[in-house]
Amino acid sequence: MRYRYQSRGQVYTVNLERQGAAYRVELGEQTHEVAILDSAPGEISLLFDGRPVTLYWAADSSGKWVSLDGCTYLLEKPASRRGSGPGERQNGASLRAPMPAQVQAVNVSEGEQVEKGQTLLLLEAMKMEIRLTSPQKGRIVKLQAHEGQSVERNQLLVEIEDIDQE
């Protein structure tokens, strides 16, 4: 059986073949012999190329979380096009809330021209002040934030368009 996973931008393919009580695994160029030693909810002990190893796992809407030697890996379904859905600008930039927060201050208005690095909004979350700065020189074409507003993670706050070159 073939399984595909994506992690940090790279796609991996795992090919599993049952061989009696064990498995033959193909991963890219490599082949491995694997047997399951023990299995409990969220835990699996394998004999991996002759070596015993225990891994812990859990799954949620983000994907599959796996822990090996304390290090946590997140495996997602491949070809998930996160961050580039409909509504993303072709030119210019969109600024979204990095986490649920409250808008503390709005320093600009719609139609205003801004410089790269200029502070556009101040958000507050978890007792921290988060500064949203403009990633580029441009003009504010959409401003969807006002002081005191509560915003959610990824909520669109500002849209900036490129300024026509002279």
């Binding site: 996973y5 409990a40 909810p41 969220g42 991996f48």
Partner: protein, 501 residues
Amino acid sequence: MFTKILIANRGEIAVRIIRACREMGIATVAVYSEVDQQALHVRLADEAVFIGPAPASQSYLSIANIIQAAKETGAQAVHPGYGFLSENATFSQAVRDAGLTFIGPPTQAIHAMGDKAEARRRMQSANVPVVPGYQGDDALENLRHEAEVVGFPVLVKASAGGGGKGMRVVWAADELEEAVAAARREALHSFGDGHLILECYIPRARHIEFQILADLYGRTLHLFERECSVQRRHQKIIEETPSPLLDDGMRTKMGAAAIAAAQAVGYQNAGTIEFIVDPERNEFYFLEMNTRLQVEHPITEMVSGLDIVQWQIRIAAGEHLPMTQNELRQRGHAIECRLYAEDPSNNFLPATGPLLRFHEPKGPGVRVDSGYTSGDEISIHYDPLIAKVITFAETRTAAIRKMQSTLKETVLLGLTTNWQFLQDVLADPDFGTGQVYTTWAEDNFEGWQPPECELPPEVLIAAALTQFQTPGSSDRSGHAGETSKDPYSPWRVANAFRLSE
């Protein structure tokens, strides 16, 4: 001795205090907000009282609700933990006015040390060295003038502040105005008080603090130091004791200064004196006093053998401290790493969410203080601290090695954490030789990204082999069986029963 104590806090410190009470046979009352109904501290306490909606201002910071809860349950004393209302003089007085014991210092000591300007004045009177600076009328013109006197770089700091809020480093005179405006705004917002002071900024300074324990009868002791120089934006990440910098001479001098500082404000119960140490000149300066228990108190407990929380309770109950300074000893080396639900590769922004699985490491010299278990949700409303992992060994090198392998035994699923960042700091040669200072972590790890490495094949194979298993299968309801909120669910207590292959 008290028969019932209310813990006015949540998370790991509430769990810590509840444990101390249980060991002493004292009944415990927990308080909880809407999102903490199933939290560990609530499950461990003998009683629990609901005190309000999730935002802290409406629950854990509600003096009225907490005092009400204490009265309803017949608690005789209140332990405030750290953060929240622990350094709020109004709260400590309200507890006392309600006829209850506040497990902490006298209200006037909280006042005196809570105001940075006042604290500096008192220390100067007591001949405790303070960071050169200015505390007075903070009109911009005065600050401009005084900054020239103190000399650049200068630190503009909120007098009522702490935790790095309301602070700006100013390297040149033309930056002062904006820094003052920003610091004042942050101070007003975070502490309700925009008063600012100035302090000489010492680059490559080290943050070394001393633990104080004082009874109600004038006996004031220190339980040695903690080095807390591995920080990011003034938030501590790794703490250790003893400090790799101090020799016995310096330790004795600083210890004496810490005691003098505490006595200058009539301090009682547990507290910490923070010093800034200039390693070039081997000078130390009083920075501030935290009039409460500290997050990193466990490392002091490991090397001194004392249970600080139990001593807080005993002192508040009127017991005498039986030991003298000469009888106190430090032994071995202890390190604490704070595991945070945050993403170091994304500006350390909190990465809150469900803790699908949390497997605490164990072993000789390993201690874990946590407020969460598998299935709990790390909420955006509170600090994203998941757990403190503490290791204790004979030498510093052994303690570091133990921490590195202990972290490898820790299982954290469902969240992005600073685990890899901690490992990278622990493995850094500067950390290995103890050559750290307060901005070292920021300087050395600026723009840190997790190492680019191939995914271990075992990880992919395990994912494939467990694709269709029941708990945590993404084909099911999206809930891992382990995350069941039902405290009686068999998945909560399941361990190693075999599924037929």
